[in-house]
Amino acid sequence: MTEISTDTRSVIMEREFPHPPERIWRALTQPQLIQEWLMKNDFQLLIGHPFELRGDWGSVACKVLEIDPNRTLVYSWEANGLESVVTWTLVPLATGTSLRMEQSGFHADHEQFYQGAKAGWPRFFASLEQVLGRLN
């Protein structure tokens, strides 16, 4: 049995692109462009806007949580009954842009984004760690 550590609860991907932040921002926020690299969608660049990403295997329910043009985009990501938060960060470089994506599933510091019952997940995982620790 694998141990659940805090680190394994978020997925982080970072890549440098030889393009300005403005171009990447467009790819992240324009529905027809999002469709080309991510999924079909009804995204709108509006705080609180609920949108859906539709893939062959099912759909993801999302909501825009934070917008800082050309710098930060945050949305919730709920699939299979599991809610997570996806944070995009764009950092301008001399040669282009560093793009970072973090999807956090169960961090206690994201509890503010969970509503009602969903706040139970971080506590559940904390408690589960103890159980799995005993199994090892």
């Binding site: 692109f17 990447i24 408690s127």
Partner: protein, 107 residues
């Protein structure tokens, strides 16, 4: 991302079910009666939740006379722990697509 673990996520998304499962993990085997005493919901509701947990492979039951005993199967959580691995693969391929798109936008 789709697959057999969908059911696991959906099953544990319910706070009452998660609570019952958590209790079985911590306290070991329990009867439906003992679980009902602390769950804050009716016995039929607890039985229904246990049925769903059983279907997802999260609990095992054992009949002893008139009582059914339930115990947790923490091993069934493996796909949940594997979530980050699956998502990492997903995002890596999305980043590749994004890279292609950005090149096309350049032209």
């Amino acid at each position: 991302m789709a697959g057999p673990h969908d059911m696991l996520f959906a099953t544990l998304a319910d706070p009452t079910r998660r609570g019952i499962f958590e209790r079985l993990c911590h306290e070991g085997e329990q009867t439906v009666h003992a679980l009902t005493a602390q769950a804050g919901v009716s016995q039929p509701a607890v039985s229904k939740h246990l049925g769903i947990l059983k279907q997802a492979g999260l609990v095992l039951d054992r009949r002893d006379g008139r009582e059914t005993h339930y115990r947790a199967r923490p091993d069934a959580l493996a796909p949940l722990i594997d979530w980050t691995g699956k998502m990492t693969g997903f995002w890596r391929s999305r980043f590749d697509e994004l890279e292609d798109l950005l090149k096309r936008m350049d032209q």
